[in-house]
Symmetry: C2
Subunit: 161 residues, 2 copies
DNA sequence: CAATTGGATGTTATAACATATCAATTGGGG
DNA sequence: CCCCAATTGATATGTTATAACATCCAATTG
């Protein structure tokens, strides 16, 4: 059952519990959850929408955590590598993982207006792509599955859609 | 049944027939199939793999068809808008459509090594994304479905995978 | 045949996204 | 304590994409 996130929830709790899980994961796997990395994830969790690397960098920079692009990209590389965040290819932007800890092949509903993103799990078989790949001997390393569109809130706010 | 394209075929015929169909489509819809647009599609068809906008621009430039980035991006906008080409978001690159004329929601198997791309049609229901969208009131405008990996040919060529 | 008009192009500049490189630092294991 | 490896800091550059504005050209129409 896909878990969809266009609804209200207890944000402060969701942030702190996810950070705690991330911390635990790092401890368990001997990964370093450094201040920049931690803060980057915290920002993504707080925003709860896709942010560009330079948007993140601007925030980190304000807080004295680094000014040059590699700061943001290194943090994002770490977070995506650890499975704490995902890149939305259709936006060249990044979002906190909504299923931290579960090994998953994510799929997204992306609102192009407000950049809110809902994350769903894809089926284990990867659907038709998986069938097609199996039929031809193609070896899938990663899937990019994104639906770009307008979220319920933005649909209502649109004057003359 | 998905149509998968990691096999040999009569390339010259495939190019010319696709160009002819594109031309017919433009005539029917009062679109202008100008030299730059035509040549851009021809290049994509001939390469039969994903090309970056600046790769295309280099070729067009050599042929006196324009030197500035907008030349390539305008041609690509036209081709993607008309359904003659698709953007592969995972590569920031572009490919000729393999199902020109059929209204379709494409899915791709993308070889990250040789940039060869196989195009399959997605199911009409758009799978779990469609279900998720329907459940929440999300309005899908476009889907991005890409499997990044290694194609059969490159798997074999890999020395020590 | 002008005049109009709307899409297509030409051109310059810049915005936005991402990585290479190398030196300096830090923190844990031998 | 020293070494190794990972992280950070800093500068520069590479890559992808669009904004803005001028101009051209071909089809319509008066």
């Amino acid at each position: 059952m896909p878990t969809i996130g266009f609804h209200k929830h207890d944000h402060a709790t969701c942030i702190s519990s996810t950070l705690a899980r991330a911390e635990a994961h790092c401890t368990a796997h001997s990964l370093k959850f450094t201040p920049v990395r931690r803060r980057t994830l915290e920002i993504l969790l707080a925003e709860h929408r896709a942010l560009g690397a330079y948007d993140l960098l601007a925030i980190l920079s304000n807080e004295g955590l680094g000014t040059a692009p590699p700061v943001a990209y290194r943090a994002l590389d770490f977070l995506t590598g650890a499975g704490f965040a995902h890149k939305i290819e259709g936006l060249n932007a990044y979002i906190a993982c909504a299923h931290l800890g579960e090994d998953h092949a994510p799929a997204f509903l992306v609102c192009t207006r407000c950049k809110t993103v809902a994350e769903a799990d894809t089926a284990a078989d990867k659907g038709r792509l998986g069938q097609a790949a199996a039929a031809t001997g193609f070896k899938i390393e990663k899937t990019v599955i994104e639906a770009m569109g307008i979220c319920p809130a933005c649909v209502e706010d649109t004057p003359c859609a």
